[in-house]
């Protein structure tokens, strides 16, 4: 796929999601990343650490939708269309594999149990490179999660996907 074709998806909206951050999933996620800190399990421990509520482990924003996206609470103005699919579909039809190349989080403030967040995702970059005779297609998406109550940004997640042809 040419850089011109790829660049057409840059800036396109990809997702809009409302999530609720709940205590049980956060505690279980902490266990799954081998973190035994009581701060993720007990509001008293969180208070002792000077936090207003139970915080989430650093990579929890990656899985928030699995646990906290409830169908009847979703925004009515979710984007239609799937810009990532427009690129990945034709590439995968020709073979190759998809790799998660990079992941980045920018924390504007800690995410806490009890937060209700609204995330909007966009495609922010798309380009191809030749490497060892293979075409590597890079797609970068950025999702900004905002506090539903204040609209202040809470966490920005940048996801870098690679298709190796």
């Amino acid at each position: 796929m040419s850089d011109d074709e790829l660049s057409k998806i840059i800036g396109k909206p990809m997702s809009k999601s409302r999530v609720v951050v709940e205590r049980g999933p956060v505690a279980n996620f902490a266990t799954a990343v081998c973190d035994s800190n009581r701060v993720y399990r007990d509001p008293r421990a969180a208070a002792e650490a000077g936090l207003k509520a139970i915080p989430v482990p650093p990579t929890y924003p990656f899985v928030m939708q699995t646990w906290g996206e409830f169908a009847e609470e979703q925004p009515a103005d979710k984007p239609t269309g799937n810009p990532m699919g427009e690129v990945i579909g034709p590439l995968m039809a020709k073979g190759g594999i998809i790799l998660h190349g990079e992941q980045e989080f920018i924390y504007h403030r800690p995410v806490f149990v009890g937060d209700v967040l609204v995330g909007e995702g966009h495609v922010v970059d798309a380009y191809a490179k030749e490497s060892k005779g293979k075409t590597m297609t890079f797609l970068v998406t950025e999702t900004v999660w905002r506090d539903e109550a204040t609209s202040e940004p809470v966490v920005t997640s940048r996801f870098n996907l690679i298709h190796r042809g």
Partner: protein, 143 residues
Amino acid sequence: MAEATRYYEDVEEGDEAPASSHTLTRTDLVRYAGASGDYNPMHHDEVLATAAGQPSVFGHGMFSMGLLGTALTDYVGPGNLTHYKVRFSRQTWPGEELTTKIVVTGKRVEDGRNLVDLECSLANGDGEVKVVGEATAVLPSKS
């Protein structure tokens, strides 16, 4: 278990966080699949993984980032990270001992906040790096 509060004044460029090691098991992968919702069978179904040409099931990249994240928050304190980024370079395999490395690369005061920059990586017993990245944390000051 988290250590006592670490203050900005306690940290100097070149400091290294205590390394933590974890031997990856298939149970880790199943637990991470359940806790994340990532049920790609390459991470839990040995039959499918070997049929696809893999030597065995292998770890979720985000498990590696999560494990390294645990070491980061053990060092800087939960809720104190302002930035965390990694590049995934190699697959992880059950039986490998994964060890974290976290080094302070700088300190700065920005907008009245005491920031500490870190580089971080996770490697196996042979020193093969699985993920490499960087992080920034805001630390409390003693003053």
